[in-house]
Symmetry: C2
Subunit: 347 residues, 2 copies
């Protein structure tokens, strides 16, 4: 996604330094030698300068903006590696989707995590912003029509950044509700696993049934429950509900359910594979939904204890936690706390 | 859908008389002679008695419930044909998805239309209820897990009816918000056309681009806008916003976008066919989304005049009206009032 964002930036005349992490060696090598990005399957724009993480210090000199394209496991790397080179007033625009849980069991959005990990001397002088909404990187790199939301709590920052990126194909609206934006971005990956499970459960029964046409009733029901719970999370955690219905919520969940990594993981779970089997089948793919479910599993009991959420709330997320964190069998879920994944009875 | 509902009913031990309209002759003939339903591709349940519309009077004798499976063009037939045989206190459960516009430009949900067309002597003694939520008929007929919402303004009626239908695979929750349920049911068909257009616009550009992978960013953006506008319609028209996020709204829109008739129509429009071409290519398929867009086209100017909605509101529905009712070219929309379907520029 970091690379994909170089299309709107360079189309707007900006110079971009594309720095890989220590995990991106082969990608940066390819970009340097042939200008081909292996993941996106196309040449990077002319005014992009690919650099390795060894060149990070010089890459960060004099930049207007740092775009962070690391995954949720990389935000600590980002803070520690990039942090020392930042100067007061600089802006970080993150595309990372995830959540962490504090020792007190509170959920923390990633821009706050980055702030807390930056050198104390500048941490509160760095302006954090983030991107939400449905955007498949490979489509953006082909200049497909894409509508996203930039969010920042710092007055004016989201609008300033939107001006840098906005093109006829990359449409940017802005919000000051960074919390809501980040909650949607993280949770839609978790809920996409749920929709995938529903799809897998039904497809898995197709063979015995003899039918080959689609099974969408159950995934659609889970999709609706996901949207409803997303809206509840926003309300419980202090954000406005509106984003659940908008690009960052229903929109991003929709695109992820059209074959995204997290929904494919769910589908494997629904087909009967356990989490370790499913992850092995998707080796090399980042599964941020799993990390988000784990963060929620840590936060949920504490939130319940503090009276912030009710015992019967969020049944779909609780079912995800049972499967992904506690290793519950789908069939067992049917017996008690399961939601809508019960096997279809052959009445 | 009317036939599909005989599965949960007969699984619950009920006797069902399945009456076709004058348009269903071949279907009822097939059900009578071989018990095969040609549309669903399977045998109807044993305790279903298929009958032609000539047998309507006797079919309605002593029934506990009338389930109306006509399409939105059939509610007038229903009222005129079934009405004279109804007795006070009887219940009609409708699965029809549509809206009509009164001469005053007010939107009217179909249960109200039926009530207004029934014989005056009993019209207000018939209890109206309706079903919303994501349910593909062929899946229900295969006993796929399906979650729906029954709605009625008559106290207790939705719950009574839910008891008749509820099975382990057909899960029914209830609401008293019949207005919200019916608005969602009708409008999701209209908005599914919009998502389909987005998909067609992008797929249509694939050939020139040389890429074969999916295009989901734009359909997902339109999906989100559809959810947002659905929620706005509910608020403007006096229903609660909640259903927009739930089974009747986001859930039903999701299932319709997975290859439903209305989204396929939209896709043809997005690929560049005009409405009459697209309809010809889908001859024989009921396109209720088009009728709903027409109803909204009649209502919108009056609602604006009365100050119930603002001029700039509902940009996606206005774009649908421009295309479907006014015959606007997609390309022309880009010049002014278009929303997100502008052709992707080859920057």
């Amino acid at each position: 996604m970091g690379t994909a964002l170089t299309w709107p930036l360079t189309d707007n005349g900006h110079q971009v330094r594309l720095v890989g992490t220590h995990l991106d060696g082969p990608i940066i090598e390819s970009c340097k030698s042939s200008r081909q990005h292996p993941g996106l399957g196309r040449s990077i724009p002319d005014s992009v300068d690919p650099l390795s993480h060894h060149e990070l210090a010089s890459a960060l000199k004099g930049v207007d903006l740092v775009v962070s394209g690391v995954n949720s496991f990389g935000v600590h790397w980002l803070a520690h590696s990039v942090g020392p080179h930042l100067t007061p007033g600089q802006r970080i625009l993150g595309v990372t989707k995830g959540l962490e849980t504090t020792d007190e069991g509170d959920l923390e959005i990633l821009p706050n995590v980055v702030t807390s990990l930056l050198p104390a001397s500048i941490s509160h002088q760095i302006k954090q912003a983030a991107i939400g909404g449905p955007c498949v990187a490979s489509e953006l790199a082909r200049r497909a029509q894409t509508c996203v939301v930039f969010g920042s709590r710092c007055p004016g920052v989201a609008d300033e950044l939107a001006l840098l990126f906005r093109t006829p194909y990359y449409r940017v609206t802005t919000t000051s509700d960074l919390l809501g934006l980040e909650l949607c971005a993280a949770m839609k990956n978790a809920y996409a696993i749920a929709v995938g499970i529903a799809s897998g459960v039904e497809v898995g029964r197709e063979a015995s049934d003899g039918s080959t046409s689609g099974w969408s009733n159950l995934p659609a029901a889970v999709f609706a429950q996901a949207c409803t719970e997303l809206s509840e999370w926003l309300a419980v955690l202090g954000a406005a509900r509106e984003l659940a219905l908008a690009l960052p919520g229903a929109g991003d969940l929709y695109v992820t359910c059209q074959g995204g990594r997290n929904s494919r993981l769910g589908r494997l779970l629904g087909l009967g594979h356990d989490l370790s089997q499913a992850r092995a089948m998707m080796a090399g793919e980042t599964l941020e939904g799993v990390a988000t479910i784990r963060a929620l599993a840590r936060a949920l009991p504490q939130m319940e204890r503090k009276g912030r959420i009710a015992k019967a709330s969020f049944p779909l997320m609780r079912a995800l936690i049972a499967i992904v964190v506690e290793g519950a069998q789908l069939e067992r879920l049917a017996e008690g706390r399961g939601w809508v994944w019960q096997p279809r009875p052959d009445v």
